[in-house]
């Protein structure tokens, strides 16, 4: 078991929301009741995201990211804690919150009975723009998102990437204070994904506050100012990429899997923890895992130590510092996408 190094949560918000916070939560929780027992989807999340920040919730599927976004966008009722978006309480002032947010859900919620242009026009009118202004805004969005040749197509005739672009365009019609993106590039091809990243980078450069969830580590690395690593409904670590790496993943992780279980006490007898640079040694069934800032020669030594104790190597990996090693260090588990 890993007892993680310094847990990255250094600020626990308390009291009313600060004026400049775009998103703030206090011990936010969601438990789904069901006949087969309660499911704790979110188990106490604290966030404090200032205006203008590009913030990422990173975690595997089922970590509680979508439920968290659901609560922040008023579509899921929290069962504990509080949350404010753009200064308004999500439970007590849901309409005020909805006026100030744009949401791109993970599922395709485009209005399939309308054309591309109509999707944008009617959304604009839902937000109180007059017919003429709505049509102009729709034209502006269609142009910027490269959908001009599809503007009269029905929404269900779009490709995956076009649909996703239209959903982002639609979320921007009313100039939201906060843009929520739930897994915006899931299921898209790499080229389309990079194109979407470019759009999001420009929006962020213009000062758009963005909260994004993703299970792609490279997406969080490429886009976000700050990242919260989430699993099992809790934030495991939070901070800039550099801070996360410094706290949890600055070491290289060398893992050797033997064909036999590792005997108790082997790591201690071999003095692995006393090697220069080693911060942690873990035995896990047939695996021996060493975290080290100085991995030179470590792999070979682990093979030799095994051989001297009658263990044959099945495979070995050396993971350079990255979000992936940070995740491994924090959870003791391989990252599952």
């Amino acid at each position: 078991m890993i007892t993680a190094t310094a847990n990255g949560r250094n600020s626990v918000p308390a009291g009313p929301p600060a004026a400049k916070a775009a998103i703030r939560t206090e011990d936010l929780r969601k438990t789904y009741k069901s006949s087969r027992g309660d499911v704790e989807a979110v188990r106490g999340i604290d966030l404090d995201i200032p205006q203008g920040e590009f913030f990422g919730l990173l975690g595997p599927n089922g970590a509680g990211k979508s439920t968290t976004i659901g609560m922040l966008t008023t579509l899921v009722h929290p069962t504990g804690g509080r949350a404010w978006v753009a200064g308004h309480d999500v439970t007590r002032q849901p309409v005020a919150v909805k006026r100030r947010i744009g949401v791109v859900t993970q599922n395709n919620t485009l209005d399939m009975q309308l054309t591309v242009a109509e999707n944008l026009e009617f959304r604009s009118r839902f937000f109180g723009l007059s017919k003429g202004v709505a049509a102009r805004r729709a034209a502006q969005l269609i142009d910027a998102f490269g959908l001009s040749d599809r503007k009269n197509a029905m929404a269900d005739q779009l490709s995956g990437g076009q649909g996703r672009r239209l959903m982002i365009a639609r979320a921007l019609v009313h100039q939201p204070d906060v843009l929520f993106l739930d897994e915006p590039t899931a299921g898209l091809d790499p080229q389309t994904r990079v194109n979407l990243w470019d759009i999001l980078k420009v929006l962020h450069a213009q000062g758009q506050t963005i909260l994004l969830t993703t299970h792609y580590m490279e997406e969080a690395e490429a886009l976000c100012d700050r990242i919260a690593v989430v699993d099992h409904g809790k934030i495991l670590a939070e901070g800039t990429l550099d801070k996360l790496l410094a706290e949890a993943g600055a070491e290289t992780i060398v893992t050797v899997r033997y064909e036999q279980p590792v005997p108790d006490g082997l790591a201690e007898r071999a003095g692995l923890a006393d090697r220069p640079g080693v911060t942690k040694v873990e035995t896990d069934g047939d695996q021996l895992r060493v975290f080290s800032g100085d991995p030179e020669g470590l792999l070979g030594d682990l093979v030799n130590i095994g051989a001297a104790n009658g263990l044959h190597v099945r495979d070995a990996t050396e993971a350079k510092p990255s979000l992936e090693t940070a995740f491994l260090a924090l959870t003791g588990r391989e990252y599952r996408e």
């Binding site: 599922n107 395709n108 009617f122 102009r136 921007l172």
Partner: protein
């Protein structure tokens, strides 16, 4: 001069990227300031319904016109022509054509069909796996306003569907078999039609939010068919006095009050139940099913 030709290609390539970036950036800098109000959002949602209805107009029209057309054809043309015993009951005894009895009944069944289909079927789609309902749920109004909008849209379809019955029965009948319609009070007719529409649409909202979409077909069979068959479509309620237990049992059927209300407004020569009972059931039923429907709609939308 030499520099103008050489970098042109590069200029265009990087110019495209820069152009896209600047048009994206302008979305933020050149954005109109929205001023949503409850009324504007509600109006926009209704406009969206009419756009979709207009686009599907041919299929909507066929769906709305087929039932009364076939009913009128069989009951007011075919059966009188072949001289079946149909229409020799209470109506015939007092010299009324069967089509006179049928008009209110047919309208009542149209309210039910159109109101429930018009409200329930879109909901089944919107709550299915992609949950497109979330699109409308994020509009800046309370969720109950969205539910009321759904009832309004369904009620308008029900109203139009029932109104289509008039021209159909006027044109489709055997010689001498036309309906004798005598509107005693336009106000009463309007009230009965409006509240019959809201009642069926409220029932549709409630059903569409409490029933598992996969079981919807079964529910239509179990709900729609008995309501129609036992909704006093083919006979006035008073004629049921010979089967006393059934006359009392059908009082739980909302459709009875629609058809009886229409009889009171359109064909007063046929006996009908007291007006107060009719209006109490139509208005009270709208309130009860509206409340239940809005509540279950909210529970389905906000998890």
């Amino acid at each position: 001069m030499a520099t103008t030709t050489q970098p042109a290609g590069i200029g265009t390539a990087s110019g495209d990227g820069a152009q896209v970036a600047s048009s994206i950036a302008r979305l933020i800098t050149d954005a109109p300031v929205p001023h949503p109000t409850l009324l504007k959002t509600f109006g926009a949602m209704m406009a969206r319904e009419f756009r979709v209805l207009g686009r599907n107009a041919p299929s909507t029209f066929i769906r709305a016109v087929m039932q009364p057309l076939l009913f009128a054809f069989v009951f007011a043309y075919v059966l009188p022509k072949i001289g079946s015993g149909f229409g020799t009951g209470a109506g015939a005894a007092s010299g009324l054509t069967f089509s006179t009895i049928l008009v209110p009944g047919l309208m009542g069944s149209m309210f039910l069909m159109q109101g429930m289909f018009g409200t329930t079927m879109p909901l089944v789609m919107e709550f299915s796996w992609q949950r497109t309902i979330e699109d409308r749920a994020l509009a800046p109004v309370p969720i109950r306003v969205l539910a009321i909008q759904k009832i309004t849209a369904g009620a308008i379809q029900a109203f139009i569907g029932a109104a289509i019955v008039f021209p159909v029965v006027y044109w489709v009948h055997a010689p001498g078999q036309g309906p004798h319609i005598d509107v005693t009070s336009w106000f009463l007719l309007a009230a009965v039609m409006v509240f019959s529409s809201t009642l069926t649409a409220s029932m549709g909202l409630w059903l569409g939010t409490v029933v598992d979409p996969r079981k919807m077909q079964m529910v239509f069979a179990v709900v729609l068919l008995p309501l129609t068959m036992l909704g006093c479509v083919y006979y006035p309620w008073s004629a049921l006095h010979v089967i006393r237990w059934l006359q009392i049992l059908v009082l739980i059927n909302p459709m009875v009050y629609m058809t009886e209300g229409l009889r009171a407004a359109l064909t007063p020569s046929i006996g009908h139940m007291p007006l107060w009972a009719i209006m109490l059931a139509l208005v009270g039923g709208t309130a009860v099913f509206g409340y239940l429907g809005i509540r279950s709609f909210r529970n389905r939308v906000v998890g």
